[in-house]
């Protein structure tokens, strides 16, 4: 299955939908800091992988896919929900990369350059996620 980039898809997203994701992302980042200060880094660290904006993103996927079908004269809600389910399945594959990110940060953040560790771990997140996705598409 080829990977495609569609910058025009951004036109479907309304400004308040961008705002909702910014606010949720900001809130969970602030909350993770507050929780870590109050209950310690072990509890705060859990929230570094909290699905903060996932409900908003998955809902947008369903909405946009349903709108596209409606523009073609089809009232197909099921296709929109299927798209959201595929998006969630992709996030499950991405969480493998997220785990790799956490392991690398744990191993290298002490005694190495912060930016080098974060950049390297992010690249490894991307590589592990894409590899997991590629294997999943090949196998099934």
């Amino acid at each position: 299955m080829p990977i495609e980039v569609h910058p025009s898809a951004l036109k479907r997203t309304k400004w308040h939908e961008y705002l909702v994701r910014f606010v949720f992302g900001g809130l969970i980042t602030a909350a993770a800091g507050i929780i870590a200060k109050k209950f310690g880094p072990e509890v705060g660290g859990l929230f570094l992988a909290f699905p903060a904006i996932f409900p908003a993103t998955a809902t947008l996927v369903e909405k946009h896919e349903t709108e596209k079908k409606r523009e073609k004269g089809q009232n197909d809600i099921v296709r929109g929900r299927d798209a959201a389910a595929f998006d969630a399945a992709g996030s499950a594959m991405g969480s493998v990369g997220l785990f790799v990110f956490a392991v690398l940060v744990l191993q290298f953040i002490q005694g190495h350059s912060l930016w080098l560790v974060l950049a390297g771990a992010t690249l490894c997140w991307l590589a592990a996620s894409v590899l997991t996705w590629w294997i999943r598409m090949r196998v099934l």
Partner: protein, 111 residues
């Protein structure tokens, strides 16, 4: 208070950047990878190392591994429920959040 506001702004910005990248990609299963981007972690760890030190950030990263497993189970459950029962995405995604809490805190408790 300033620290919280900085975290809010940086976190919101990083999360938004990864979301926009995901919005532009097809197929949806590939775009979904960006729903699991380390956006909150990047913003938090960068600020935490500066304020609390690298050892503190390493302890957060250790717990994050449990959060990742919880995230995997949460999104897998959401995907399966929507696919199987064709329910409204928002209800499933919000309704399943207790799954994340149960797995994350369960793993943290038994560690």
């Amino acid at each position: 208070m300033i620290d919280i506001l900085i975290r809010f702004a940086v976190g919101g910005l990083v999360v938004s950047v990864f979301s926009v990248i995901g919005d532009m990609l097809k197929p949806k299963s590939f775009a979904g990878l960006f729903g699991a981007a380390p956006s909150v972690a990047l913003a938090t760890l960068a600020l935490t190392v500066r304020s609390e030190g690298a050892a503190y950030a390493a302890r957060e990263a250790h717990s994050m591994m449990a959060g990742c497993i919880a995230f995997f189970i949460y999104v897998s459950a959401v995907s399966w429920i929507i696919m199987r029962y064709k329910l409204k995405t928002l209800w499933v995604a919000v309704g399943a959040v207790p799954v994340w809490f149960a797995v994350a805190f369960g793993l943290w408790w038994i560690r």
